[in-house]
């Protein structure tokens, strides 16, 4: 899973940028699977699915729209999802980001974890 230390975060949004680049091969931060919310003048908070082992989201989903990929990554079946966001409410780390309607789940960049790789302050880190 990915850990996030708010005290190390500077709010640079580099995670948003690389996430969008990895998924769309261009810069499209508004479609990133990770979102930074600012809290000026203080540093804000990053909202994202940490791919944690608890998977409270899967239990909370009434539509069984969440499933585990062969690599053990929680993924969303959009056809089943009704955008009730009960998964987001159940997330022990706070809200999940959305695309305005549906929740967004990290796909670990097929194990590349680009946000972790590029985070300049190591506020995002991988852990077991």
């Amino acid at each position: 899973m990915i850990n996030y230390e708010r005290k190390d975060c500077t709010g640079c949004r580099i995670c948003e940028i690389v996430c969008s680049m990895e998924h769309f091969k261009k810069i499209h931060t508004k479609r990133a699977l990770i979102k930074y919310d600012d809290d000026w003048p203080r540093v804000g908070n990053v909202k994202f699915c940490r791919q944690c082992p608890q998977r409270a989201c899967m239990q909370a989903c009434p539509e069984e729209a969440l499933y585990l990929s062969p690599e053990g990554v929680v993924q969303l079946d959009r056809k089943r999802c009704v955008a009730c966001l009960l998964c987001s409410a159940a997330c022990p780390f706070g809200e999940l980001p959305t695309d305005g309607e549906y929740p967004l789940f990290c796909d670990t960049c097929s194990g590349q974890f680009q946000c972790v790789t590029w985070c300049p302050r190591k506020a995002l880190k991988r852990s077991r």
Binding site: T10, I17, M21, I27, H28, P41, V43, P120
Partner: protein, 607 residues
């Protein structure tokens, strides 16, 4: 038309008189010849601004522009510029801002906004992708910049990024800034131009994307650039730790820090304040602009003394000086609060602090009296300093004189005060005393917007690099150094990255980044980019010549030319400007009057 990689692709033209707008494609030719940001603004203002117009009339044009690297992964790719004919100086002015406003503008689909005309009643410009609304903003008029942005977001949505003016801009205070998401388009009074146009705020929100020409190459170049920034002692060490004040002690030791309006000497407590003290006493968190791995910005909170509880995003090095040493003031809380108030009212904290130092010297010399001010204002009186910031911000009392800048204040107060009114072409000097690094004297004298440290920063080569290679107290190589810096800085300010990235990233690295992103042939080598930088600077010089600038304006305050530096390595030195200036005109290809020669303009493709 296919989108040009690296660019949003569109220009938004707004006419406030007619309350109309139009969206046009970003021309490929403009991109190839002027890169973006400052370059775009130079071309637009040179071509479209009526010569000799009153900067506060409806004829002035306000350009907001981003560069290709703005809003991308390129480290520090967050910058946008606002360019106008300055009401403070009457010449060209571009003010550059970090944060998130520029990236959001590109996400909304625009590289440039061109704002013309003047509204009769207060308005706000709301940009939601390509949906543009010019709406009445009477409810925001009169509000400080923080409240205005907050109210606007409450009404339209938290996701908007807002650039707005405060009471200073509304009252056309000539040193008014435009504030955007905690950052400033600070210098030269662009806030007053927005005020004259009755445009309180520009809010943007966008969902668009930026194409990448060579994805793998762009990623690789970024990886290298991020590594350079991480391992560089400045960008990876001192700057994130101490903020922009990381150089404070060094600047002080080398005699570069101006004290008490460039008089020199000492002031109570001055020996105890430095970047370490700032960090211990004030800093709470590191904040970064968009795409910036450096994070030089700080959230600071005052924890003791009369200003306990006050906060600021900052204080920046320049303001640490302008409200500190410049005013003979060592009360850190007051420095933080003065910077906060500058942001609150929307005024340029460099010009404001510089002007307060001027007033304090006038006060001590009996040129300005207690009766005129309404209070005493000797050096070191931080309460007087805060009062004057408020008076400037609210355009009240003596603030009505001081807020018009030191050039006009000296004309008003007279009695020889012009000799120590520290400005060039009307723009107040920043935090480097050029008597201790002569190149800065030439940099101030020839900068396109008046006294500015961000058009050429010779301090790096003269003082921070290995001692003796370029002697800070000699004139040799200074003309060449200033020209090269100016040309490259205009490239950097057109690319949309922060000048601080250049502490770690060489010319080649920035070139490789923009070339991989855009694939544009004219961006493929440093030589090509420097050519564009030189072309931009010459075009702006033509703009300034058209506005009446001559050799006589390329000068320094009399104090720097006549009064010797008081102490330290530069003791006894004045700035021998004449010889540097003559050499500068020579390497620039300008005639003796400082006008670009015909041959030079032909070479640069400007004729």
């Amino acid at each position: 038309m296919a989108k040009i990689p690296g660019y949003a692709g569109f220009i938004l033209h707004v006419d406030l008189t007619e309350q109309k707008y139009e969206i046009t494609d970003l021309p490929v030719a403009l991109v190839k010849e002027y890169i973006g940001g400052k370059g775009f603004a130079a071309k637009v203002l040179y071509d479209e601004l009526p010569a000799g117009c009153d900067p506060l009339s409806l004829d002035n044009i306000l350009v907001v522009a981003c560069g290709p690297l703005t809003g991308t992964l390129a480290p520090t790719g967050c910058r946008s510029v606002i360019a106008v004919k300055s009401p403070l100086t009457g010449i060209w002015n571009d003010a550059n801002c970090g944060g998130t406003f520029g990236p959001e503008l590109k996400a909304a689909g625009f590289d440039i906004i061109i704002i013309k005309g003047q509204s009769e009643t207060p308005v706000k410009l709301i940009i939601t992708d390509h949906q543009v609304d010019i709406l009445e903003a009477t409810e925001l008029w009169g509000l400080d910049t923080f409240s205005a942005a907050e109210q606007l977001k409450k009404a339209h949505g938290e996701d908007y990024k807002v650039a707005c003016i405060g009471p200073a801009g509304e009252n056309k205070v000539l040193m008014a800034s435009v504030q955007a998401e905690g950052r400033s388009f600070g210098r030269g009074g662009s806030g007053a131009v927005l005020g004259a146009k009755k445009l309180k705020a520009i809010a943007v929100k966008g969902t668009g994307s930026i194409e990448i020409f060579d994805y793998e190459e762009f990623l690789k170049e970024n990886r290298e650039a991020y590594n350079e920034i991480a391992i560089n002692p400045d960008t990876g060490g001192a700057r994130p730790k101490f903020g922009t004040s990381s150089i404070y002690s060094f600047i002080k030791e080398t005699g570069l820090l101006p004290i008490k309006n460039f008089q020199g000497g000492s002031y109570p407590g001055g020996e105890f304040i430095d970047e370490h003290k700032l960090r211990e006493e004030l800093f709470e968190e590191d904040r970064a602009c968009f795409a910036c791995p450096i994070a030089c910005s700080k959230y600071s909170k005052v924890k003791s003394g009369p200003y306990t509880g006050k906060f600021v995003e900052g204080p920046e090095f320049e303001d640490f000086w302008s409200f500190g040493a410049q005013c003979g003031n060592s009360e850190l809380g007051s420095i933080a609060y003065a910077e906060y108030l500058s942001d609150y009212y929307g005024i340029d904290a460099i010009s404001a602090g510089n002007a307060i130092g001027f007033v304090m010297e006038c006060f001590e010399k009996g040129i300005i009296t207690e009766e005129e001010l309404g209070f005493r204002a000797p050096f070191g009186d931080h309460e007087a300093m805060i009062k004057i910031v408020r008076l400037i911000g609210e355009n009240q009392g003596a603030g009505q004189i001081i807020g018009r800048g030191v050039r006009r204040a000296a004309e008003y107060y007279g009695r020889g005060s012009g000799d120590f009114a520290m400005h060039v072409k009307g723009l107040e000097l920043p935090a480097y005393d050029p008597r201790a690094a002569l190149g800065m004297g030439l940099a101030y004298a020839t900068s396109d917007r008046g006294a500015c440290h961000l058009r050429a920063w010779t301090v790096g080569a003269e003082v921070l690099s290995h001692a003796g290679r370029i002697d800070p107290l000699e004139t040799e190589f200074k003309a060449e150094l200033v020209k090269t810096d100016q040309d490259w800085f205009s490239v950097v300010n057109s690319l949309g990255v922060c000048l601080f990235s250049t502490f770690a990233l060489g010319h080649n690295q920035l070139t490789d980044l923009v070339h991989a992103l855009t694939g544009i042939k004219s961006f493929s080598s440093v030589k090509n980019l420097l050519f564009i930088g030189e072309k931009i600077n010459n075009l702006i010089r033509l703009f300034n010549v058209r506005e009446g600038v001559t050799r006589a304006d390329d000068t320094l305050p009399p104090r720097l030319l006549k009064e010797a530096h008081q102490a330290g390595p530069a003791k006894g030195i004045t700035v021998p400007l004449k010889e540097m200036l003559e050499q500068y005109y020579l390497v620039r290809g300008w005639d003796e009057e400082g006008t670009p020669t015909e041959a030079n303009l032909i070479r640069l493709g400007l004729k």
